[in-house]
Amino acid sequence: MAEIHWMTAMELAAALESGDLSSREITEALVARTDALDETLGTYLHRTTERALAEAGEADARRKAGEAKSRFDGVPLAYKDLFITKGVPTTSGSKILKGFVPPYDATVVARSHEAGLPMLGKLNMDEFAMGSSTENSGYQLTRNPWDTERVPGGSSGGSAAAVASGMTPWAWGTDTGGSIRQPASLCSLVGVKPTYGFVSRYGMIAFASSLDQAGPLTRTVADSAALLEIAAGHDEMDSTSIPGDRPALLDGIDGGIDGLRIGVVKEFSGAGSDPGVTTLIDQAYARLEKLGATIEEVSLPSFEHGIPAYYLIAPAECSSNLARFDGVRYGARVEGDDIIRMTSRTRAQGFGPEVKRRIMLGTYALSAGYYDAYYGKAQKVRTLITSDLAAAYEKVDLIASPTSPTTAFKLGERTDDPMAMYLSDIFTVPVNLAGNAAISVPAGLSPDDGLPVGLQLIAKSLDEPTMFKAAYAFEQDLGFATSDKGRPPL
């Protein structure tokens, strides 16, 4: 058997089922792996080792009694620190929530718990999910397991680095403009941004409500499908969650892509991507064709306005969503002579510079006299992007692109240049604006720098099954993800 820490969730589930491994053994191995690596990588903000071991013991007892809660009962899991976890400190990477211990569980957490997944801990992230490198965390740096001088991407950088280094087989992340897919790409992982409303947002600390979605970060496509199935579905606590049942994702994932029509975005070709990225993505298109898909060019002219529109809508929503952090009821408080000074000081000291920048941007965009020119205009662009995409799907079944224009960049390289940082998400942001589903799947290592490159496949709303089928076919044919070459040199 392979080393436990490199086993996929599917493999671990099989080993639990056959009795080859116990949940306790698995959990202990992952804890040991984390003990060995996390000082260097800085992925966890809060570890819940005792709880994980206790939950693992319970899972083993259930299996013994033939009462396993699910196929994955006993396969451990970790969460981006943006998910509310009852009784476990939750900060969303911000100092303003230092010491906050929530009284309830996010729906994603509750459903994962119901499936019997022991909780290993809470993972680092850019503060309130604002960033593409995890360098905006209010607490610590997270390093890319492929090169510890480089960023893991962000904002779900802690989740990506933990999964990529074998500290956990899978983790929950969130994606507002690329925060799952871009770190997945930079760490050679599978990362999924489901259709808006596919997974409940209840208990996700909101950044931009109309864009946020929870999704898995895993080492294989099947693991992503499996984790998504565990939490997906309507939730009456989230009125934006889509009513009705969700399609099966694991079942039929190996159905192949013969005859599938895949579009490549005309406006994306050579849009500032690294040559190494372009080379690998072109190879990926060729592979998809070889597997029976047809590749054709689609034009999405509104996509070039995605970043500007996103950087009005997301800050506008965040300026309102983050107003509740005022020192009155929970989290950090910096005392002042009166309520205004207390709240001002708490926010001045509690929020980091990027969060403040976005609150100011958003406040301005919503101000009387500017609303129409900024927020209103951005919403129009959003409508245009959505209708452009809908038109493209009359011709094709999926749209393919690079996930990120570059491989992992050096720590500190873009921290003083917000615009360069924002452009990390140029290929991912339009998907959030339109609400569609997308996946990033490892496409190999760049010939330029030997760092991972990810292929993005964008599906129609609620067409996750087609997306998973294509990603699975590609992954299996490439044979990279679970090979030694697909693992970081740790």
């Binding site: 929530l97 309830y104 209840y202 208990g203 934006t240 509740r324 005022d326 009166d338 309520i339 609303y371």
Partner: protein, 488 residues
């Protein structure tokens, strides 16, 4: 107010009325809606604005709002949505209020107010739905946030569904405002969607008041008056504010747009903030909820379920009972009063006007003295009807009935019991009366002679003597007839 002032100035008032809905649960979570209770005992992550929590709209609250809108003659929007109103205040858990902005659920209605001026329509601009805030209790420094030592927050009320009703500036006096608020309260009470208790804050009234010289086209500076906690304080505050603005204009002052606070004790308004501090609420569509489109079927079923409106009831009372405007106004001032009257009128077989007269002329006097409302009286509608029936049948005289009513009011007993206890039964037994009449004729031969010789004016004296002798119990009509017969 002097006559000259009414000649010179015109007053314009628009009202903004907030009504807490009596739904079982809050607007966006499952917490129970109730008044009072230990602080922060009816809260959850949603109404506390905990990170990660999300609002889920209460369908019943939307239905109740549409009920109010339809009862006020509004159109229901085909497409409506919630907006966020952003401002910082410690009793607002999210530091934004989920409210409605440019797409209110109901718009364009009207209410008729009735009074000495006749009937006057007041337009309803909009009726929208939002969430209530928590309550701040400022400790020290005179109870104001600015100079208090510290503040306590109670979030039990936070998230209670709140309906805002905005009137057009069609109200022309404090008395019309009173009539409007009374009308609105009766309408909403009849719908059963709110307690509408101003004292408990389940109905709150803010007023925009402006005074201008007659003939001027532009409205005067708009002054918002807050903190009026009863209908009486609405009248007091508006009369004071009207007077204040007139005096200021008389003195050549320029009035400014501002918000003023009404002080219940002194009866005076004082400035809270001027427009320089006007907030920019940065309204934008609430992204945590999807827009909603009430189906025509839903709207129609609500329309069909509406109870009789006060206007319709007034028309019906006038028609069915032949009552004048004033009586109708008194009897329809609240649903409970109207129901009480109809129960009494229904139990009475004669002309309902007689019942009305007993309510308005006599019962109200007793109620006012005791500080009670009609429906709080110990007398039941059926008992009042029985009393009037007893008068009709000659069992008691009208004069005696007043005493009986007094007795019923005190004890709650049936009129028959009160009559028996007080020995007030009227004697209508002809033999018994005849004996007394004969005695009186014998004792007053001179007067009897006068009547016999045609001087009928003297008969009244003899009737009086009979009544005196019978201790008021003899049926006066029978006494009169017997005297006439015997002395003809």
């Amino acid at each position: 107010m002097t006559d000259t002032q009414t000649d010179i100035y015109t007053t314009t008032v628009g009202l903004e009325i907030h009504v807490e809905l009596a739904t079982a649960s809050k607007m966006f979570c499952g917490c129970r809606v109730a008044f009072g209770g230990d602080p922060n005992t009816r809260t959850c992550p949603v109404c506390l604005g905990m990170p990660g929590s999300l609002p889920v709209p209460n369908e019943k609250a939307i239905e109740f709002t549409m009920k109010i809108g339809l009862a006020l003659g509004c159109t229901i929007a085909e497409h409506s949505l919630f907006h966020r109103k952003n401002y910082f205040y410690p009793d607002m858990p999210k530091n934004y209020q989920i409210s409605q902005y440019d797409s209110p659920l109901c718009y364009g209605g009207a209410v008729e107010v009735v009074g000495d001026w006749g009937t006057h329509p007041v337009g309803i601009t909009r009726v929208h739905l939002e969430e209530d805030t928590g309550k701040s209790i400022h400790i020290g420094g005179g109870g104001r946030i600015a100079d208090s030592d510290y503040s306590l927050e109670d979030f039990n009320r936070a998230g209670t569904p709140l309906v805002e009703i905005v009137s057009e500036p069609d109200i022309r006096s404090a008395d019309e405002a009173r009539a409007f608020v009374t009308e609105l309260r009766a309408t909403i009470e009849a719908l059963g969607v709110s307690d509408v208790r101003m004292e408990e804050g389940s109905m709150r009234v803010d007023a925009n008041v402006s005074v201008r010289r007659k003939g001027e086209k532009e409205y005067g500076a708009k002054v918002e008056v807050k903190n009026m906690n009863s209908i009486r304080s609405v009248i007091r505050a508006l009369e004071h504010e009207e007077e204040r603005q007139r005096k200021a204009l008389d003195a050549g002052e320029i009035l400014i747009q501002e918000t003023r606070h009404f002080d219940e004790k002194s009866g005076v308004t004082s400035s809270m903030r001027t427009k320089e501090y006007a907030f920019d609420y940065r309204y934008f569509p609430e992204p945590d909820m999807v827009p909603f489109e009430p189906s025509a079927g839903w709207v129609d079923s609500i329309k069909d379920s509406l109870p009789e409106s006060p206007t319709t009831r007034r028309e019906r009372f006038a028609r069915e009972y032949g009552l004048g405007v004033k009586d109708v106004g008194v009897l329809t001032s609240s649903l409970k009063a109207a129901q009480w009257f109809e129960a009494a009128a229904g139990a009475y077989e004669g002309d309902a006007k007689k019942v009305v007269n007993w309510i308005i002329a006599d019962l109200f006097g007793l109620l006012n003295e005791a500080g009670l409302e009609l429906w709080e009286s110990k007398i039941s509608p059926v008992q009042l009807a029985a009393l009037v029936t007893l008068i009709d049948s000659g069992k008691i005289s009208g004069k005696q009935a007043k005493l009986v009513l007094q007795g019923m009011f005190e004890s709650g007993d049936d009129p028959e019991k009160v009559i028996a206890e007080k020995g007030l039964e009227q004697v209508s037994d002809e033999g018994a009366i005849e004996a007394v009449v004969d005695d009186v004729i014998a004792e007053n031969a001179e007067a009897a002679g006068k009547v016999r010789s045609g001087n009928l004016g003297t008969i009244g004296f003899l009737v009086g003597q009979v009544m005196k002798k019978s201790k008021g119990k003899a049926n006066p009509q029978m006494v009169n007839e017997l005297l006439r017969r015997k002395l003809s």
